[in-house]
């Protein structure tokens, strides 16, 4: 039970070793808690929020075009995450295309479709089916969706002319009016 060590050198070495061990143990525990806390906080955070700076990205469309921050600056950008295997996405596909055709002539609105974890053939077939004309491209390496911290499809993020996130929709749009109501305030003077 209570053993008293008689040898003085033994005593100091015993004291040093436990101290090192103690420090290591506390450091390990602390780091574990910090790491877990960080991830927990991020998971609790959810997707990127309105008002924050929208994460920048470059999209390579299925036609080979590169659309990056340069092409997006000064415009209202609607970023829509979808997938060909996603049934709810089909609900809003036609509406999105119609609203795009409505805004396209103005030139200051850009619609981007991001195919999330989808196969090229199936994506192209989906685009064909709904006759989508705005740029669409795959989310290579799921890097864009990770930047936006999406949790599924369909999700839509609307970025204003200054590059800040102005509107977030985590489900399919129910009508064209809803989409227009989200974009109109951002068009500015």
């Amino acid at each position: 039970m209570n053993e008293i060590s008689t040898n003085p050198t033994e005593k100091t070495s015993q004291r040093v070793l436990p101290r090192l061990g103690r420090i290591l143990a506390w450091v390990a525990l602390f780091s574990l808690l910090v790491v877990v806390a960080m991830v927990l906080l991020q998971k609790q955070q959810g997707p990127v929020e309105v008002g924050q700076k929208a994460p920048t990205f470059t999209l390579t469309t299925f036609d080979g075009q590169q659309i990056g921050p340069a092409e997006m600056s000064g415009k209202v950008v609607l970023v829509n995450f979808w997938a060909s295997w996603c049934k709810p996405c089909e609900q809003e596909a036609a509406d999105l295309e119609s609203v795009w055709r409505y805004y396209q002539p103005q030139g200051d609105v850009l619609f981007l479709g991001i195919a999330w974890t989808d196969t090229e053939t199936a994506s192209l077939e989906y685009i064909d089916r709904f006759d989508i004309t705005y740029p669409n491209g795959p989310d290579l390496g799921t890097s864009i969706s990770q930047a936006y911290r999406t949790t599924g499809v369909p999700e839509t993020y609307i970025i204003d002319k200054n590059g800040n996130l102005a509107y977030v929709k985590l489900s399919p749009f129910t009508s064209q009016a809803e989409i227009k109501a989200a974009i109109d305030p951002l068009l500015g003077p």
């Binding site: 997938a83 060909s84 295997w85 974890t117 989808d118 196969t119 053939t121 199936a122 795959p138 290579l140 390496g141 799921t142 890097s143 990770q146």
Partner: protein
Amino acid sequence: MKIKRYLFGIMLTLLLGLLVAGAVSAQQPTPSDDQVNAIAKQLYCPVCENIPLDVCPTTACAQWRELIRQKLADGWTEQQIKDYFVQQYGARVLGTPPPKGINWLVYLVPPVAILAGAYVLYHAFSAWKRPIQKDNLQPTTTEPPAETDPSQDEYIHRLEEEVRKR
């Protein structure tokens, strides 16, 4: 009349032939399911976590398996297909993290930790080891002479009985 029967015979044969050909081709698509599975086994569904691609039941996974089949038909090698999946969907489709950057830690930390533990144990053993005292310790075999065993057992047994009685 004869010609009609003859033509009819040819048509029937042709139709039957097509049917058989159709049935045969419906049986085993090329590349075969097994070839697709061999690669799909090593990949993981990017959407549903930790499920290998060959058993994942979702529509997305079905599409990916068809993608593998298509690439195999185009002559791609296994490594090419895996690289394509990583490029398209990220590193998480692989079963183990690609050894790049901090991912090296995955492969280094456990062996280092275990070796460290082995060292600690070795060090502890050396510190704890005392020379064998010849008098109080006999090298004991676990082949005890069977004769002494029962007598000791007997003794213990009797002792237990005595104690129980009290």
